[in-house]
């Protein structure tokens, strides 16, 4: 507990500074767009209804989806810019997060600007006009000062929303306080989850209180409150952002990781090897399964580990299964040809979808393979994770072996293992490198027909870095180095409930186990 708290605490400066930078930029940009738009909306109904409608519509999109939508959009824009101007820009990380959060922050500011200005006493407006103020003078001398408290209230709401939603920038590759939450959820490190939630809540509440001070200063016309609030905001932002100055030099290597324990461990292992070679490295964690490959292909990530079956199906859109070696060879050829991506080689273990049973139960039922299982399945219950039943792997084994279970139930992974232990499920879908297979004394059922595609973990290098000697030297020893037992043990050390290691510790332990210490 203390260890995990200390580890979380050590990450705070970097996560918090990124989170504050992102939220601050999104709010500033949102304010800079919404305020003039709000003023224009007050002057003209032709602006008012479309802009308010659009802002409300954006608000109805789940914030995670909004963030995710900007990635393909920016990727397309970057390609256009590459074609026309000869240079693209990163489609992952800060840019899509900033755009989505900016849009997300707009509604409260826009709505309150319109309400604030339209709510100004008509007598004051008539006096302003009657005295000969121009439209701009009326706006800056009368309407904006009088609407300021209402506009500030909108900015407050926007700040709380934006700071909260910024945690969702993690899956699109932007470091934020969400890194605690997403990696904590995956590794069942509840200290991290709680730490991330509390940190972002404290940040949001702090910003809310300081903006509230400014708001009350504006409405009660107390200058000192406005100054105190503004000073607090500036000081707080400066303190939170200061770690950015210390590491202002951009990382020269980016290692990517998807959103589960094994990926965190491998990314930490790769990063530490690069660091040992004298390189500056940063890790982009919690990338979505599809975004990770695209980020690599576009050069935003220099290296990460993916799985041959995933690349085969999702990137090359192949539905056949020519066998482990043929898939690897095909991938190496096709990814190079198509995207310039280098498949450096397999890491040595597979992380495939498999069906697993408790060893004692499998023995009792005399089941060792999927073929054996087919005969018993009508009397058995299958527990799966949340996506397995909608994946092609399930369709493939079901039709290959004619599997038909008495009942199918989906669980969150932790509860799926519990269900198997309690006998709620007889068979579960599992990942072959999951540490719980060994720890819970499970057996993996063989697939004699080869219906499940191979899922060799492979190291991928971006086109930009494929000839980079330092990167290749650091990664090469990982090829073929990690057997599935070592990976399971490392995964389990992160996933287990007691004596948890964090991914960096697990990576060091794994390196020691397989003899990869420098």
């Amino acid at each position: 507990m203390d260890d995990r708290f200390a580890a979380a605490w050590a990450l705070l400066p970097s996560y918090l500074s990124q989170h504050v930078l992102l939220s601050l930029c999104a709010l500033a940009l949102g304010f800079a767009i919404s305020l003039p738009l709000g003023v224009a909306a007050c002057r003209s109904a032709a602006v008012r209804w479309p802009s308010l409608f659009a802002a409300s519509l954006i608000q109805t999109i789940p914030s995670l989806a909004l963030l995710a939508m900007f990635y393909p959009l920016l990727l397309g824009l970057s390609a256009i810019s590459q074609a026309w101007l000869g240079r693209g820009f990163p489609a992952l990380g800060f840019a899509p997060s900033l755009m989505a959060l900016t849009l997300y922050s707009m509604l409260p500011i826009l709505r309150n600007t319109v309400a604030g200005i339209r709510g100004v006493d008509p007598a004051a407006v008539e006096a302003a006009e009657g005295m000969g103020m121009t439209g701009a003078q009326r706006l800056f001398w009368v309407e904006l000062p009088l609407a300021a408290p209402v506009i500030m209230a909108g900015a407050r709401t926007a700040a709380v929303w934006t700071i909260g939603a910024a945690t969702l920038a993690t899956p699109v590759g932007q470091t934020s306080l969400g890194n605690y939450i997403f990696s904590g959820l995956q590794t069942e490190n509840w200290v991290y989850v709680l730490f991330g939630c509390i940190a972002s809540a404290v940040l949001a509440l702090g910003a809310d209180q300081l903006l509230g001070l400014i708001e009350s200063g504006l409405s009660a016309r107390r200058r000192w409150r406005i100054w105190a609030g503004a000073l607090g905001l500036v000081a707080g932002s400066a303190a939170a952002l200061s770690p950015l100055l210390a590491v202002s030099a951009a990382a020269s290597y980016q290692i990517g990781a998807k959103n589960f324990s094994e990926q965190y461990i491998l990314a930490d292992l790769m990063a530490s090897r690069l660091r040992a070679a004298g390189a500056r490295v940063s890790v982009k964690e919690d990338l979505g399964s599809a975004t990770a490959y695209r980020a690599l292909a576009s050069g935003e990530v220099d290296a990460y580990v993916d799985y041959s079956g995933t690349l085969w199906a999702n990137v090359l859109h192949r539905r056949d299964n020519p066998g482990r070696a043929a898939v690897l060879a095909g991938l190496t050829r096709e990814l190079k040809r198509r995207d310039g991506v280098t498949v450096l080689g397999p890491v040595g273990f597979e992380n495939a979808y498999v069906l697993a049973m408790r060893a004692d139960r499998a023995r009792a039922l005399n089941v060792a393979s999927l073929a054996d299982l087919a005969a018993r399945a009508p009397g058995l219950k299958l527990g799966s994770d949340l996506e397995f039943l909608s994946r092609p792997e399930w369709a493939a084994i079901r039709s290959a072996y004619g599997l038909s279970f008495a009942r199918l139930t989906s669980y969150q992974p932790t509860f799926m293992y519990r269900a198997l232990e309690d006998g709620e499920a007889d068979v579960i879908s599992a990942f072959s490198s999951d540490g719980r297979i060994a720890a819970d004394h499970l057996v993996v059922l063989a697939d004699p027909l080869g219906a499940l595609p191979p899922y060799d973990a492979v190291i991928l290098l971006s086109p930009r870095r494929s000839g980079d000697a330092l990167l290749r030297r650091a990664m090469r020893p990982l090829v073929g180095a990690i057997p599935v037992e070592a990976m399971r043990a490392a995964n389990f050390s992160v996933d287990r409930d007691k004596d948890k290691l964090d991914p960096a510790q697990a990576a060091r332990e794994l390196a020691r186990q397989v003899g990869l210490e420098r």
Partner: protein, 255 residues
């Protein structure tokens, strides 16, 4: 000189003003008198372009309103109305300074002018720093007057300026304003529905009904004899009320 020439105005298909022709000479104190809906406020607002006639022209010193940008015209015309419209976020002094600031005066001159106006409208100097919300209704309307006068306009437009005040304040402020009108050589156009106020303050009363001029003349002439029965009844009202007051004084009952 303010001149209305064949002016009409229609709102939502209903003619509210005109056709109306009228000229007001410099230095006159004119009251537009009429019931609500008689078009008196709309007529007044045509002088500073807050209302725009559908047909005909309003001109000031020979230049049609609207020929020049309205803000520069309005800065030369004082405007006071019943709701006053003091800027609630500005202090009394800052409210008074708005006109001079719009006219681009240097700050020392603005400060001197603000102090001068506070004494001109008989307000203690120590209220200069207060916000409008901290003033009484009478003080607020005095500040409204001071603000309208600050940039030194030649014309004052007043729309029911004293309508929301108690009778004592109303009478005092009315007399104070009349004195200022003389002293500053202003041309004043005031809208009111109060016959007594019109009679006691104005040099000339224009009675409006359904947007047209029903009667036009100095108070004495309008009191003396009227052919229009409506105007006669209107003008006789204060005297009728006076007679009833005298009866009450002699110990009579309401009747």
């Amino acid at each position: 000189m303010i001149a209305f020439d064949g002016v009409t105005k229609t709102y939502a298909g209903r003619r509210v003003v005109g056709p109306l022709s009228l000229s007001i000479t410099p230095g006159e104190f004119v009251a537009f008198l009429g019931e609500s809906g008689s078009g008196k406020t709309t007529t007044l607002k045509m002088i500073n372009g807050l209302a725009v006639p559908d047909a005909g022209t309003v001109s000031i010193d020979g230049r049609p309103v609207g020929a020049d940008p309205l803000p520069s015209l309005r800065r030369r015309i004082g405007y006071v109305f019943q709701e006053i419209g003091l800027f609630p976020h500005l202090s009394v002094a800052e409210n008074i300074a708005v006109g001079p600031r719009l006219a681009g005066w240097p700050p020392p001159r603005i400060a001197a002018r603000t102090a001068e106006l506070l004494s001109l409208i008989a307000l203690p100097a120590d209220i200069a720093g207060r916000l409008p919300a901290a003033l009484s209704g009478g003080q607020r309307q005095r500040v409204g007057l001071a603000r309208a006068l600050a940039a030194g306009p030649g014309i004052m437009l007043m729309d029911e300026p004293f309508g929301a005040l108690d009778p004592v304040t109303r009478d005092a402020l009315g007399r104070d304003y009349r004195a200022l009108h003389e002293r500053l050589g202003l041309t004043t156009v005031m809208v009111t529905h109060d016959v007594l106020e019109a009679l006691l303050l104005a040099d000339r009363i224009v009675v409006l009904g359904s947007g047209r001029i029903v009667a036009d003349g100095p108070p004495g002439a309008l009191l003396a004899h009227q052919e229009d029965p409506g105007v006669r009844r209107l003008m006789e009202t204060p005297q009728r009320q006076l007679r009833r007051l005298e009866a009450l004084e002699k110990g009579g009952a309401h009747g």
